[in-house]
Symmetry: C2
Subunit: 215 residues, 2 copies
Amino acid sequence: MKLVLHNYWRSSASYRTRIGLALKQLAYAYVPVNLRDGEQHGDAHKAKNPLEFVPVLEIVEDDGTVRTLTQSLAILEYLDERWPEAPLLPRDAYLRARTRALAEIINSGIQPHQNLATLKRLKALGVNEQAYAQGYIERGLVAYERLAADVAGHFSVGDLPTLADCALIPQLYAARRFSLDIARFPLLAAIEERCLALPAFVAAAPDRQVDAVTS
Amino acid sequence: MKLVLHNYWRSSASYRTRIGLALKQLAYAYVPVNLRDGEQHGDAHKAKNPLEFVPVLEIVEDDGTVRTLTQSLAILEYLDERWPEAPLLPRDAYLRARTRALAEIINSGIQPHQNLATLKRLKALGVNEQAYAQGYIERGLVAYERLAADVAGHFSVGDLPTLADCALIPQLYAARRFSLDIARFPLLAAIEERCLALPAFVAAAPDRQVDAVTS
């Protein structure tokens, strides 16, 4: 079995998936899809994901079967079901639901309003796209901080990193790009510090990827 | 145990949750949250969901413990784990991931761009919010039709209704409100017809709810 991740260093959905893969210590081939150059709109990528988004995970089985997966949260759930070690969800059903709800605050509540495609579209419509995205980021992080307070331990839910942290850390990285002051969210800042002390989160960080442009 | 669903007849995330509850034949108290009157922004609702969205599901256990859940997909996953009968996900891990990915096309790919809060915000910014939402609906349904073609049977994934259908049917209902011609999506139209022949989908429909305004 071989895993191939089609992704982009700075895409937060890609970053989420890399964290999950690293937490589970799964090796994968890294295939960059350059979003700035529009590679996600090319026929090769569209055949893998008609929504023209990253990440896409290909699972090449030993018998040659290739399974293609889209959507970062669906990919993370798949990893968790197939490789249960280092679980991304708690055991208790209620806490699992709270974990998924935190991840969705980011996945459906923030990210759709701040991704590159949305920003471009808004800008073309004459909207201040930075302010638009900032509003959603702020609102989402306020909600995350409040809801995580009920269930957090060392991490967003309990004392082990979960799906929620896989979503949170890339969102905080993105929030800084939109000039938000993370110190306003003391719980999130504390969780981030603990996550970034773990090798899996370090290895998944945008600046560490082969396609990173850091100049 | 008692279930209380805080929701709104025409909200598509509410509608998704009602379908899941009905498929599992779970009774619940229906508490309307009038989005048109802004009840979701009131203190009572914000205490339940700081994102000020519906639905919110409260689970009142026999010992009096109240558990509060937000985010329609997280709620549906919870229902499926706690009441496994009439499963909302296939057994096979890969098909489960494909099911979740279809649901996410709608949940994170379309709905954030067409919900009431977004439409109001865009309108205030001088954007033609109807056209904006239409673009995302069209793009999302094209992707859903393409990806569902790999895995559909009588329903979106295989021959039983799943989480994906819980998301699809409310999205098609919303698409009509935005004047999209569903006939352009023959697979989705066929799946919709089969879903709407099931009592659970009929019972969950917006027009059947106590707070529906049909005049």
